[in-house]
Every structure is written in C-alpha cells, then in structure tokens.
C-alpha cells in the first residue's frame, strides 16, 4: 500500500499505475491517487470543512467555487453536512473515517486505495462505510485491503490474497469460491472429538447444537459417520487458500 501510494520506494521490482512507474513518476501518480491509510490522523482543531479545504488545496484545487462545490458534495455524500463546522477532534471513529474517505476522494481519483477502512468501527458505522465504498466502486478503481470478508463481499469485483508477501490468489469472487467448491463439510461431532478432528482437518467454523458441535471444515475428503457436504462461503475459501502452499491464479 505504501509503495503504491508513493510513500515508500520498492526494494525490488516496481508497480505501474495508469502507465506511471511508482519509482519515477510519483508526482503523476499522486495526482490520480486517493489514499485512505489504516492509521491516519486529522488536525483536531480544524473543522470537517476546513480539513477538506486544506486537503483540497494540497491537491492544488485552485478554483474556489469548484473546490467548495466538491467539498460540499463530499460532505453530503458522507452524511457529514450537519457537523461540517465542528472540529474533527471531537468526532467519533466512524465520522473520522468518513472524513478520511472524503479527503481521499477530493481530487476525483482514478485509483482509490483504502487500507482496512472498517477496522475498529461499530457495526452501524461499518455498514455505512462499506455501503459508501460499494457506491464509489462503480466510478473508479478501488484497491481495498481488509481482513474482513464482509467488506470483500460488499465491494470487490476482483480479489487478491496475499500471505507473507506471496500472492495466493487473484481473481473474481465466484472463482475464489470455486477453489473450495465440493471441499467444505459440516461434521456433527461430540465435544471430545474436537481435538482429533482439528488435527485431521482444516477448521473454518464451529457452532454448538445442544450437546453436540457442528464443525465446519475444508478438506478434499472427510471420513466421519455424521458428515455432509455444504456450500462454501468466502471465509472457507480464504482459509483454504491461506493453507494452500502454491498460488492459485485464474
């Protein structure tokens, strides 16, 4: 994310964004980029409007009328108009995140990079931010980094899975589900069987059903008297792909 957002130079290799090499064309990339980092702050004494105006000026949006219209539009879109004159220092985490998203969109970026945008938010704010991202995704390329599968389901057309710097999967969501199709099982077992089953199979979920456990596993084959094949979801696919030693590309 830092390399793509031109903040860190690659130690090897490169990345090309809209024909611009991140090693040599940083200024050009910054002009077409919107970036919402995972860990970011805002100047607490500035209001939401002032914060966006400051950021818009940093983007060299010189025309005052166009700048004001852009900011007002984004404030309305982020549902922040009512609080635009309040210092952001008093904002909740979700409101700050929406200001962060607005600042990333000021220059109408071709590429919007958002890093863990819903981390640490309460469910209501998480849904709101996720909906905004889904809405924005029709207008531009969004590169979203997240550990939350719900975020991916809501927003992503294409998914890449990185593990320890290695790309485990690149493709669309149906393709990702296809990697684990026919390999997801639900085992109805007694609690004392749990450790043994965990040793044999890759667990992707666990539910209690009375005195029994419903253990969800991903495996090519399962040898158990009370097992049935079930439809995979993205969490199953994610855990399966993270386990696989080789990358699966489509």
């Amino acid at each position: 994310m830092s390399i793509l957002s031109t903040l860190v130079d690659p130690t090897s290799g490169t990345a090309i964004i809209d024909g611009n090499d991140v090693r040599h064309k940083k200024h050009e990339i910054r002009q077409l980029l919107g970036f919402l980092p995972q860990d970011f702050g805002l100047y607490p004494v500035l209001t939401a409007y002032e914060t966006l105006d400051y950021m818009a000026l940093l983007c060299s949006l010189h025309d005052p009328i166009a700048r004001r219209e852009r900011i007002e539009g984004l404030l309305a879109r982020m549902n922040l108009t009512a609080v635009k004159d309040r210092p952001v220092g008093g904002f909740s985490g979700g409101m700050r995140q929406r200001v962060g998203l607005a600042q990333a969109l000021l220059n109408s970026p071709k590429l919007l990079i958002v890093d863990e945008p819903t981390a640490g938010l309460d469910p209501e704010e998480r849904i709101r931010v996720r909906s905004l991202l889904a809405e924005l995704s029709g207008e531009r390329v969004i590169l979203l980094s997240t550990h939350l599968i719900e975020d991916v389901q809501a927003v992503a057309d294409r998914v890449g899975i990185l593990h320890k710097g290695r790309l485990r999967y690149v493709g669309d969501i149906p393709g990702m589900l296809a990697t684990v199709q026919g390999k997801v099982w639900e085992i109805e077992a007694r609690p004392e069987e749990l450790n043994e089953l965990r040793g044999k199979y890759l667990e992707t979920g666990l539910l209690r059903a009375g005195n029994l456990l419903k253990i969800r596993v991903a495996a090519d084959r399962v040898d158990h008297p009370k097992v049935r094949s079930i439809e995979p979801n993205l969490e199953d696919a994610y855990i399966w792909l993270m386990r696989e030693p080789e990358a699966t590309a489509s």
Binding site: S5, T6, L7, V8, D9, R23, H24, K25, K26, H27, E28, R30, Q31, L33, F35, L36, P37, D39, F40, G41, L42, Y43, P44, V45, L46, E50, D53, Y54, M55, L57, L58, C59, S60, H62, D63, P87, G100, Q103, A104, N107
Partner: protein
C-alpha cells in the same frame, strides 16, 4: 508558468498558510503561552519612571533569550507535527511540492511563535502606557521587537531544520540549547557567535535562510522522488550562504572583539588615561540617530560624560536625572553626553527614544562582555570605569573635575554639585 497559474498558486499558498496558522493558534498550548507572555510583559513594564527605553530593552533581551528558547521548542514540535498527529501519510501523498509543504509548515509555525513574542511586547507596552508613557516613547518597542524576531528566526530555522530532518523534536531542541549556551557563555564566546546584537542580525537572517533552503532541499529528498524538483531551494541556499559569509566577514573586519579582532581606533582610545585634572578621553561614536559624535563637537562647554550599561537596574532613573540636568543647565553651557556600553547597537537608540532623551547617547561599539570591568571597553578602560555607571564632569577646557562612580551617580545630586562647581568657576560660556 503563466501569470494566471502563478497567481492561483500564490493564492493557494496563502490559504494553506491560513490553515497552518489556525492549527497552532487554536490550541490550548498556544493560547496558554500567549497569556503567560502577556502577563510577563506586563510585569516587565512595572518599573519606576515614565519612559519606555529600559522596558523596551528588557523586553528585547527576554525576546532574544527566553523566547528564542520557546521558539525552538515550538518549531521543533511543529516540524514533527504530522508524525505526532498521524497526518503525515495523507499530507505527503498529496501532489504538492515538498518545498511548498516545508515552507508552509515553517512559516505557519514561525508566525505563531512571533505571535507569542508580540504578546510579550504588547504586555510590556501596555504596562508603560498605563504608567504614563507617551505614544512616541512606545515606539522604542518596535526596533526591539524586530531585533528579537530576528533572533527567534535563527532559533526557529535551526530547530526546525534539525527536528524535521531527524524527525525528532529532541534534535530541534539543540537549537534552543544553542541560545542557552550563548546566554551562559558570553564570557568565552565572541560576539560574532551571538545573534542577539542588532549588528549581527542581518548575517543571522542570511544563515537562517540558508538553513531553511537546505531543509526544503533535503525534505524533498526524504520524501523520495518528489517531482517536479524544488525550484527555490538550491539557488536560495547558495545565495543566502554567500550573503551570510559576506556579512560575517564584514562584522569581523569592522568590529572590535578581543576574540576575533582588535580595532586600531579603539586601541587609540584605550591608550588615553583619564583622571581628575587630566583631559577627558576623547572618542568618536554614533549617537542614537547614527550621527558620529565626539567631545570636540562641544567646545567650551561643561561636559557631563556618563558611561552606563543599559542592563543596570538604575539606568532608567539615572537617565531621567541626566535629562533633567540637561534641561536645567543646557542654556548655561552644560552638555550631557551619554556613552552606552552594550554589545548590542540597538540599546542606545531604544533608551534614547523610550526615555525621551534630549542629549546625545552614543553607542560604544568597542564593548565586549568580559569578566574584567576595565577591559569591557577600551573607552571604559581609559576612564578607569571599575563600576558602572561612571560620570565624569569636566570644566570648559575638557579637564576632568571629578568622576563619580557606582550607586552614588543615580540620584544625580553629586553630579549636580560638580556641575554647579564648574559653572561657578567659569560662568561665562560663548
């Protein structure tokens, strides 16, 4: 670049500057320090008499020393603000020149620091106005504010550069430490190393600009591949460095400082020896208006030659007494000539304007802070001024009648007695 886009760029810079200012001015820290500065200024102005000169000098000294340190701390924190507030990523990923970002941050924070300095001066001036000073006398604060601003600029540039390049406010505090070293180490540091004397200020402004240009250049390098490259930094650094070398060389060549250079003219002054009955030692120094002044300008007059330090607690009351003496006896051929022993050339004008002096107050530019009183200036040595103030009264042929030293000068009575004695012996003046 077209004129229109240049104009738009400048307008954008001004708007960004406004936000840089607001980020500091709205903080409780800035408001608290400003209030403390205002109260401290009010306390500085709480002195006897109705003049402003002594208070203006005190405010100037406080600005050059204490506020240079405050400025260093403030600028160090401002330099690393984006790290502390975690705004660095969203600011640095913007398509904005690195030198623009650095110049904005510096200018915004420095103007905030100047605001704190202004609060000190406003407090001091208010106190003097309440004490009865006239608006003309309050004018003495202006050059002292400019002088202190120059020193703070140097402190700001040094601390901002160190803090922003090392990304640590502690490194920036070295800028403040420098000020403290100068303050504590006046006995062994040459005057050239001190930015506070007004005659050194232009050189230190050039050094400050040089440091800032380097900071802008290296902040672009640290941001990795910022393009387009900086416009001002390299030529600006070269120009300011050349100016600084030129100005420092000029100060070293034309000044008088035992650590650097002895001036032949001042050595001639030192070779004189003044005691009762002998001819008063001559000198040629600039007065408060910058006009060269010597004792030869007052032939046939009874001279009252007062050697004083602007930092003595009784300076204000002594100047008031000497002013009254000049007004009372001037028409009878008495001339008071003050000699201000200060390392700072702005002290005499500040005292003269602030105290409303009607006699010339010259600056002894040979003054240097050394432990031995006799060596503090060649002229003071010639007058055997083992204590300040020292006031020599002459007859009409410039022969010393007596020299009054130390605290007994302050009330002016002993000096008046000597003047009366001289006038009685030679009442006629042509």
């Amino acid at each position: 670049m077209s004129n229109q886009s240049q104009s738009a760029g400048f307008t954008t810079w001004l708007l960004l500057f406004k936000y840089e200012l607001l980020t500091g001015l709205r903080t409780a820290a800035w408001r608290g320090i400003a209030l403390a500065a205002l109260l401290y200024g009010l306390s500085l102005g709480h002195v006897d008499g109705t003049g402003c000169g002594v208070t203006a000098l005190d405010a100037g000294e406080t600005g050059c020393r204490l506020f240079a340190l405050v400025t260093a701390v403030w600028m160090s924190l401002a330099a690393v603000r984006d790290t502390a507030t975690r705004t660095r990523v969203i600011v640095q990923s913007r398509p904005q020149r690195s030198e623009t970002l650095a110049s904005l941050r510096f200018t915004g924070a420095f103007v905030q620091a100047l605001g704190l300095l202004a609060a000190l001066f406003v407090g001091a001036a208010l106190a003097r106005i309440i004490g009865g000073s006239g608006l003309l006398q309050v004018g003495a604060f202006v050059p002292q504010f400019i002088r202190a601003s120059g020193v703070c600029l140097f402190s700001a540039a040094l601390s901002f550069a160190l803090a922003s390049l090392s990304e640590s406010p502690i490194a920036g505090l070295l800028g403040g430490l420098y000020s403290l070293l100068v303050l504590a180490g006046k006995e062994y540091l040459a005057r050239l190393y001190d930015p506070a004397p007004v005659q050194n200020l232009s050189a230190y402004v050039a050094v400050s600009l040089f440091i800032l240009m380097l900071t802008m250049r290296f902040s672009a390098a640290r941001r990795r591949g910022s393009s387009p490259p900086p416009l001002l930094a390299v030529p600006g650094a070269l120009l300011s460095l050349a100016a600084a070398i030129l100005l420092f060389t000029n100060i070293a060549r034309s000044g008088h400082d035992p650590h650097i250079r002895l001036n032949p003219t001042l050595e001639l002054m030192a070779a004189q020896d003044t005691q009762a009955g002998a001819r008063a030692a001559g000198f040629l120094f600039p007065d408060q208006h910058g006009n060269p002044t010597s004792l030869a300008d007052y032939p046939g007059k009874v001279l009252v030659i007062a050697l004083l330090s602007p930092h003595d607690v009784d300076t204000g009351s002594m100047l008031t007494a000497l002013n009254a003496l000049q007004k009372k006896y001037g028409a009878r051929g008495v001339q008071v000539v003050g000699v201000c022993l200060s390392e700072d050339n702005s002290a005499a004008p500040a005292l003269a304007i602030g105290e409303g002096l009607v006699f010339p107050l010259v600056t002894d530019w040979g003054t240097s802070s050394v432990p031995e009183k006799l060596a503090m200036s060649p002229l003071a040595g010639a007058y055997r001024a083992t204590a300040l103030p020292s006031v020599a009264v002459t007859d009409r042929r410039r022969r010393i009648i007596d020299i009054v030293r130390g605290a007994s000068v302050t009330d002016g009575r002993s000096v008046t007695d000597l003047v009366e004695q001289a006038l009685k012996a030679e009442p006629n003046w042509q």
